[in-house]
Symmetry: C2
């Protein structure tokens, strides 16, 4: 699909058919995340994928903690985005903390992942609100690491993408 079409098709999907996603398809979109750019090519990310019934139930518990994200009941898979140590090049590591760019880098990888999912006909929703404590416990993630996002992945039960609501370009951009 043309990229400018793809970004209008990608949206936060909060309505899934429940149909499972083949592991090969999940690997394909994870590979797109793998190829994202990052500061000094540090690739400060890893991905935990919940796509079995037990794991999905646990992921749902994490994202619905406190009553949030109720729409995830029928999502067939979840991808946890874990921040890893970033090895920056020596010249930059002298001046900045190792994790200085890590969240930006996770954003880059997450965009790759969600756009790849859209290209594969999948819906995703990027969630920032969840029980990180439960996620670490359920999925054996070391306590000192940060789980930054959990992404639901599945086939959308909606018939067409919604129109996007965004600030107008001329409010955001200044040519100098």
């Amino acid at each position: 699909m043309d990229f400018f079409k793809l970004i209008t098709v990608r949206e936060s999907c909060r309505n899934y058919t429940g149909e499972p996603v083949p592991r090969e398809t999940l690997k394909k979109i994870l590979n797109a995340a793998r190829l994202a750019p990052s500061a000094c090519n540090s690739q400060p990310w890893s991905f935990v994928v919940a796509d079995t019934p037990d794991a999905v139930r646990h992921a749902v518990e994490c994202v619905q903690d406190g009553g949030a994200n109720k729409f995830t009941d029928k999502a067939p898979a979840f991808i946890l985005i874990v921040e890893e140590h970033a090895q920056l090049s020596p010249r930059i590591a002298d001046r900045l903390d190792s994790q200085h760019f890590a969240q930006i880098d996770l954003g880059l990888a997450t965009a790759h992942l969600c756009l790849a999912a859209a290209e594969e006909g999948l819906g995703t929703c990027i969630m920032g609100l969840f029980s990180e404590e439960k996620a670490k416990a359920y999925f054996s993630i070391p306590s000192e690491k940060r789980v930054r996002l959990i992404i639901s992945v599945g086939y959308s039960a909606d018939s067409a993408p919604r129109a996007k609501s965004r600030k107008p370009l001329d409010e955001l951009v200044r040519f100098v």
Copy 2:
């Protein structure tokens, strides 16, 4: 272009022809950034575009500060990614700082921008090391804001994309 092809074509371009980029093309890739997802649709970003001789000279001074990024001498345009206040939804704003997701969101918008540029036949390089102080002074950006990235934009003088060097997928991904 198919998305899985596009992500192999997008790379950090450090060799530009010097040919100017039409403003309409810059607006097209900025519009792709505008359509990126963000926490609570907060869109915590703005973009300062340097594409006139004086502005480009100033941008080059910012990114080459301290002897870095020498490859930018022939880049015809630069886009500064500015972090703006994020208005989160009340339920989330009760629990988290307004800027909690802002850097991830800037990463999402930056990926959209660089992939859109690749779709348009343009090369980009995402730079995190530059004089933020000079950038704020030259481009009249309020001192309390953060300029998180500067992206060079132009036509690549390289003949073909390089092979990507990344960690293997099975080192990054764990199915549970």
